[in-house]
């Protein structure tokens, strides 16, 4: 079941296409990575979801029906370019923004007090925002994003500006939101965090979706059947003991171990590699080299022709 989907969405800004027939569907309860190089059209797409701007063509669906203006109450958005009113007090500001998201005054107050206590921020309530550190401000912004308990959360580069401790706290909180049933769109350039958090991704490049699907499937597709081995007690050449169809990509020394990466044909079984090695070397480790998201990102984006869309 998809919580949100975009069908053939296009958007043109004076002279250039920001989105070109984009199809994206976001499964309910997932953490969805929206990836792409700078200027690819991610922010435009996020703004379209938030109904800040309207698409030129295409359809948007929320929960199986067409997206309505009132759906903004079901969405929480933490933009990449974010800030607060510097001269306002934290509490007043949080109350204001929570009410703009449709909460009543009483409800906003009740929930804010709860969260301020949880995040140990109670003493900040009457402080002006300009008195807070950048990290503290980020915390306030995060809290405001989730205060109305939206079904769909959009985080655009959420970790920028956080120190490692707060970043990990934020990560835990994002996972907690997911466990509570929220669906999360996560836009970032930090591929490590994509790997860690995302179930699904869409990669946008030059206004088009060039890669889309569950992270595990994508990784499988980009697998090259390459294995890394570590061994010692062998002084001969590695290629002499391997089947001829196997190719050695790289060999190097790592302390007292010799390491190599070996690609085997797609139809071959990794056991063949092990069995050819075992009689000759002392095998210390054996692992498949799975491409990480960073490699996939770079490969897809730098390729001249976009890959066929994988579903």
């Amino acid at each position: 079941m998809e919580l949100f989907s975009a069908l053939n969405v296009s958007k043109q800004f004076s002279g250039h296409k920001a989105l070109d027939k984009v199809n994206i569907s976001i499964p309910e309860g997932s953490i969805f990575g929206l990836l792409g190089p700078n200027g690819a059209g991610k922010t435009t797409f996020i703004r379209i979801i938030n109904q800040i701007i309207a698409p030129d063509e295409g359809q948007l669906f929320y929960n199986g029906r067409e997206l309505k203006p009132n759906d903004i109450y079901n969405i929480g958005y933490l933009p990449e370019e974010r800030g607060l009113y510097k001269k306002m007090t934290v509490g007043e500001q949080a109350m204001y923004l929570a009410q703009l998201k449709g909460l009543s005054k009483q409800e906003a107050h009740k929930r804010l007090i709860h969260w301020f206590e949880k995040f140990e921020m109670k003493s900040w309530w009457n402080k002006k925002v300009e008195e807070l550190s950048k990290g503290m401000q980020q915390k306030v912004q995060f809290l405001i994003t989730i205060i109305h308990e939206p079904k769909l959360l959009i985080f655009d580069e959420p970790f920028s500006g956080f120190d490692p401790i707060n970043a990990s706290m934020l990560k835990d909180e994002i996972i907690a939101q997911k466990e509570k049933g929220a669906t999360i769109i996560f836009s970032t350039h930090n591929m490590a965090s994509v790997e860690e958090l995302c179930d699904h991704i869409s990669l946008i490049n030059n206004a088009r979706v060039v890669l889309d699907g569950p992270v595990r499937d994508i990784k499988k597709t980009f697998k090259t059947n390459t294995f890394e081995i570590a061994y010692n007690n062998y002084l001969g050449k590695l290629e002499t003991i391997l089947p001829s169809a196997f190719s050695i990509i790289k060999e190097w020394d790592d302390h007292d171990l010799r390491k190599a990466s070996v690609q085997i044909p797609a139809e071959a079984n990794p056991n063949q590699l092990i069995s050819s090695l075992l009689p000759n070397v002392a095998l210390h480790s054996f692992s498949e080299l799975v491409p990480n998201m960073n490699d996939i990102f770079i490969r897809v984006v730098t390729e001249k022709k976009p890959e066929p869309i994988l579903q």
Binding site: S14, R47, N50, Q51, I52, I53, I72, I75, Y77, L78, P79, E81, R82, G83, L84, Y85, K86, K87, M88, Y96, L97, Q99, L100, K101, G102, Q141, I144
Partner: protein
């Protein structure tokens, strides 16, 4: 609707709570008074040809009023009543009536006019009459000296006895043929004051809107907010919120000023009453057994000269139609501000920092500044061509109209000006909303007029 109220509330409260608001509320009335005094005394000349009909019952001033570059005099032989009834058809600017005096030398004249008489006409008449009366007095004195040779010649004495103060009162002949005493000076002060005030308010609160928009952009809170409200709601909420701050300030100023005036009035009136009551009780004592005398105790002759001056100011203030003035001010401030406020909001939306606003500010501030620069022409000649067109053109009408209104102008002109202003406000708001909506999402981009034009058609 609920959200726009939230926005208005925030914009209003954050501004009203500032110290600067309190300071302005107190300093404002004082500052304004200082600004008003200077230009009032600067304005002395009018430039359109005006004809003044003269009825001189004394015969002393016949042919004495010489035509100047812009004032022409002609003498009427008819009586005052028919001259007044014919006045509206005559096309004359004013009707000067010098009543016959039985014994003394005439030092009084009345100027009838449809609207307030410009300062230079009044002062010219005053000067001519003063000179004429003083000449006559001097002549008589010299004759006395010739016949009475015993007294020694004392120049100082002669000059003192010759010195004359001529009183020229102006009376407005209204459409209904009613007459009311009018005071050009008061209209001038009021016109200048409200013109400057409205200019000042539009500028001050308009640029507050602009700074508010820029603040939201540089703070980067804008994107959070417009993911919950429509850009138009945010823009209008801000404009209305800031406008209410302006209105609050204005009303506080009115209350404060009236407070001060009331205090002064009651102090003076208190003194006068005190004096009068003493006089009255003295009179009552003297005429205890003659109740008929009591009726005469209110005669003006018992009042002191000093009191009269003060009373004249208050009497003049009483001729001002304050409800109309304040009503007009609120209207022209509100719509002038709304019109300019939306333009200021558009500029704020289009730029990244206040430093970038210059190129866009110019076309907006020019009409405002021009209407202040031209102010003295409006005052000299409130019903002239320049004043008329400036008070009809929407970008200048808030200031120009406020300057003209105290002088009394035809209702159709006010209505036309108001209608045009409302229409322009709708137009600028529509335009501003388009520029604003696109501009607030653009960071770090220098925007040109060409770009703005694109956004408008977008």
């Amino acid at each position: 609707m609920h959200k726009i109220i939230l926005i208005i509330k925030r914009e209003y409260l954050t501004r009203v709570r500032k110290k600067s608001f309190l300071v302005m509320t107190i300093l404002g009335p004082l500052l304004m008074a200082a600004i008003v005094v200077v230009p009032v005394y600067m304005a002395t000349r009018g430039n359109e040809l005006k004809t003044v009909a003269v009825i001189d019952q004394t015969g002393i001033f016949f042919e004495k009023f010489k035509d100047t570059d812009n004032i022409k005099f002609h003498y009427l032989l008819s009586d005052l009543g028919s001259a007044k009834t014919n006045f509206r058809q005559s096309g004359d600017y004013a009707l000067l009536f010098i009543p016959k005096t039985e014994v003394s030398i005439p030092t009084n004249a009345i100027l009838y006019a449809e609207s307030n008489v410009s300062m230079n006409v009044k002062s010219y008449i005053k000067n001519v009459m003063t000179k004429q009366v003083e000449d006559m007095k001097l002549e008589a004195k010299l004759k006395d000296l010739q016949t009475d040779k015993k007294n020694p010649l004392n120049v100082e004495d002669i000059l003192r006895s010759v010195k004359t103060i001529v009183d020229v009162n102006t009376i407005k002949i209204t459409d209904e043929g009613k007459e009311e005493k009018s005071y050009t000076e008061i209209s001038m002060v009021l016109g200048t004051f409200s013109g400057i005030l409205i200019y000042f308010f539009i500028f001050m609160f308009g640029s507050q809107v602009m700074r508010g928009v820029i603040e939201e952009k540089t703070n980067r809170i804008i994107e959070v907010i417009i993911s919950s409200v429509k850009p138009f709601e945010l823009m209008m909420g801000k404009i209305i919120g800031v406008g209410l701050v302006g209105l609050t300030q204005f009303l506080l100023w009115v209350v404060l000023t009236f407070g001060i005036v009331t205090v002064i009035t009651s102090t003076f009136a208190g003194k006068g009453q005190h004096k009068q009551s003493i006089e009255q009780s003295m009179m009552q004592n003297a005429s205890k057994y003659n109740p008929d005398n009591l009726a005469q105790t209110d005669a003006p002759s018992v009042k002191e000269k000093q009191d009269e001056g003060v009373n004249e100011i208050f009497e003049a203030l009483n001729t001002v139609n304050f409800p109309v003035m304040i009503g007009a001010f609120v209207f022209f401030f509100l719509f002038g501000y709304l019109m300019y406020g939306s333009l200021f909001a558009a500029i704020g939306g289009a730029v990244d920092s206040e430093a970038d606003t210059q190129q866009f500010m110019l076309p907006i501030t020019v009409p405002l500044i021009l209407s202040i620069v031209m102010m003295q022409y409006f005052i000299q000649d409130p019903s002239g061509q320049i004043a008329f067109w400036f008070s009809i053109f929407p970008l200048t009408s808030p200031v120009a109209m406020m300057i003209r209104i105290p002088f009394g102008i035809p209702y159709w002109q006010v209505a036309l000006s108001m209608a045009l202003l409302i229409l322009t406000f709708l137009g600028t708001t529509w335009m501003a909303a388009k520029i604003y909506r696109t501009g607030i999402l653009m960071y770090g981009k220098k925007v040109s007029y060409k770009e703005l034009w694109k956004w408008l058609r977008y």
